[in-house]
């Protein structure tokens, strides 16, 4: 994919450039999708910590499946849900590497629940970025484990009925109960202030790994305007008005 070259007029000072850890490839995320912001934040964190040359990322199955194209660091593609097990294998094989997984709610909280819980419980010294947009985006808008009650998806056309499909899974609250994890936090990126907070959290989650503190997970409550069938702005509103009711923001566990 070619990127249109923008001629920078003389005298202009670039203040917003692409992170060094990102490649030239264009993101494949939909307009208004929060993945784009989150992927960039991860790259900024890697840049600021100066760990690009020893970082290994793990791409999930889901909307972030093309992640290895976007980053300029070593990457591995994991089977659906298995990222935390793959991360465990890499980190145990070579503890000098900085290993992060980047997973959606279906990947981390449905098919990969066991791998996530047990990696957290072992206190694996890895960093997990968990994008919770309450839906399966890549496969066409099916119900996720985090889908809100009453929320319409293609597999809950009448809205999620908790009597037959259960309740939104609060993964971070569950993981925070364990003795293993070092840092569990829930963030969002619907406005600038929250983007900055999320970035701080991601940096902390990587720093923890560098310092050998163990398992860190940053959950980010995100919007999928495409499958919500709303505009990007309304997607942001959805996060604030609907999603955060079930997924309140803040640190759930911080062990120092």
């Amino acid at each position: 994919m070619s990127v249109t070259e923008v001629k920078v007029p003389a005298g202009y000072v670039p203040v917003y450039t692409k992170p060094k850890s990102l490649s030239e490839a264009r993101f494949t995320y939909c307009p208004g999708c929060h993945h784009g912001i989150i992927t960039r934040l991860v790259a900024e964190a890697i840049d600021e910590l100066g760990i690009q040359e020893r970082t290994v990322g793990i791409a999930p199955v889901g909307c972030a499946v093309f992640l290895s194209d976007f980053f300029r660091c070593d990457f591995v593609q994991a089977a659906h849900g298995r990222a935390c097990a793959v991360a465990t294998g890499i980190k145990r094989a070579n503890p000098d590497l900085i290993v992060f997984s980047y997973q959606g709610d279906g990947d981390l909280a449905a098919i990969g629940t066991a791998e996530t819980v047990h990696a957290a419980n072992r206190g694996e010294n890895i960093t997990v970025i968990f994008v919770n947009n309450q839906i399966y985006g890549m496969t066409g808008g099916e119900m996720a484990p985090t889908t809100l009650p009453g929320m319409r998806t293609v597999t809950t056309p009448e809205g999620r009925d908790v009597r037959t499909t259960g309740y939104p899974l609060r993964m971070s609250e569950m993981l925070a109960q364990l003795d293993g994890p070092s840092y569990i936090t829930r963030q969002a990126v619907f406005d600038v202030r929250h983007v900055q907070m999320a970035k701080k959290a991601i940096i902390k989650a990587f720093k923890n790994q560098i310092e050998g503190k163990g398992f860190s997970l940053v959950e980010i409550v995100a919007a999928c305007p495409t499958n919500l069938r709303v505009s990007p702005v309304e997607g942001n509103k959805w996060v604030v008005e609907q999603a955060l009711k079930y997924f309140p923001l803040g640190d759930l566990k911080v062990r120092d």
């Binding site: 690009q52 040359e53 020893r54 970082t55 290994v56 793990i58 791409a59 499946v65 290895s68 980053f71 300029r72 660091c73 070593d74 990457f75 591995v76 593609q77 994991a78 089977a79 298995r82 097990a85 793959v86 991360a87 465990t88 294998g89 890499i90 980190k91 145990r92 094989a93 070579n94 000098d96 590497l97 066991a114 791998e115 819980v117 047990h118």
Partner: protein, 350 residues
């Protein structure tokens, strides 16, 4: 120096000597001693032993460690291997070397823990999804189990194809004298420039089996199958025993292979000209050598601890050149040499 070892222990020790430094497992009978041995010994060699939360997790940890470039292994028994099949397909697709030991028990389902050979199809014909093969090695003694585990690491690294050692409960549980192979010096283990070691002074490495473009992915698979053809040319292994004048050839692998050796001796004592053909690589299967023998031996009797799985490959090799009867036992029952001998007698002079 020979020492008395269980097949399970011999395989574990051989893995350590082959330079395996990451081992991930989930307990299951009848391969428990392999797990226990690794737990006791691997950390002393600076290796990682980790009991995973499931077979699925264990094979994906293998996937991660293999991607990081270290020699890695997992072991299990039939039901556990079924769970590992997802990860095995990914290993094959991502061209990652790894060793998987299957100490087979009787199935389908939970079955029982007695020795069986019902996973032949799973091991040699797929098992996981997609267009791939595993190198499959079938030992028949504890000694050979140790040697083939070491070979599995070498072949897997050389071709970047995962290798499976297909044993069974009898071989795993049984103790025999073993002369352990010498450890492989670390410098003899091939470099892995493709491994994920951090993109320092080079462009990033990506380990993946994913490509949305069918034409590009076709090229990936064509290269993979070229490797498979190369393995078929170079790595076929088998053993022949008393075949020169044989009127009937027993075809058996693993535990059945060794039992059929006794059958040959017993038959010869009774004046029956019986020989044995024992495939050591189940994939690549020794089609050509078997075909040649089928041109001069009129009956090839396949014996398996299954309802007839390798038998299909025997018939593919023979292609009607000889009679290809079958004798098998099911459910974990192991036939005695005498039982097989009476089956031989039905075919040898009819």
């Amino acid at each position: 120096m020979k020492i008395l070892m269980r097949g399970n222990e011999a395989m574990a020790e051989a893995a350590i000597r082959a330079g395996c430094r990451c081992y991930f497992c989930y307990p299951i009978t009848p391969q428990g001693e392999l797990v226990e041995y690794m737990a006791r010994h691997l950390p002393r060699h600076g290796g990682v032993f980790l009991q995973a939360e499931s077979e699925v997790a264990a094979i994906n940890m293998v996937y991660g460690a293999a991607a990081a470039g270290v020699r890695t292994m997992t072991s299990s028994s039939s039901p556990g291997i079924s769970l590992k099949m997802e990860g095995i397909s990914y290993l094959a697709g991502a061209r990652l070397p790894a060793v998987i030991v299957n100490v087979m028990r009787a199935g389908p389902g939970l079955g029982n823990i007695a020795p069986a050979q019902g996973d032949y199809f799973q091991a040699t014909k797929g098992g996981g999804h997609g267009d791939y093969r595993l190198i499959v090695l079938a030992p028949s003694t504890a000694q050979e189990a140790a040697e083939l585990v070491m070979l599995a690491f070498d072949l897997s690294d050389r071709y970047r194809v995962p290798a499976m050692v297909l044993a069974d409960g009898m071989l795993g549980q049984m103790m025999e004298p073993v002369e352990l192979p010498e450890p492989i010096p670390p410098e003899k283990i091939p470099e892995k420039p493709w491994a994920l070691t951090g993109a320092k002074g080079r462009s990033p490495n990506v380990v993946s089996s994913f490509d949305l473009d069918p034409y590009r992915f076709r090229e990936v698979l064509r290269a993979l199958w070229q490797t498979y053809r190369e393995i078929e040319r170079n790595e076929v292994r088998w053993e022949e025993y008393q075949v020169e004048d044989a009127e009937l050839l027993l075809v058996a692998y693993g535990t059945m292979g060794r039992i059929c050796r006794t059958v040959v001796r017993k038959a010869r004592k009774e004046g029956l000209r019986v020989g044995l053909f024992r495939p050591i690589t189940l994939w690549p299967f020794p089609y050509e050598p078997l075909r040649k023998l089928a041109e001069k031996i009129p009956v090839l009797l396949t014996v398996e601890l299954s309802a007839g799985q390798m038998w299909e490959d025997v018939r593919l090799a023979v292609e009607g050149r000889a009679k290809t009867p079958f004798y098998g036992e099911l459910g974990g029952v192991v036939p005695t040499p005498d039982e097989i001998l009476s089956e031989v007698k039905k075919h040898v002079r009819d």
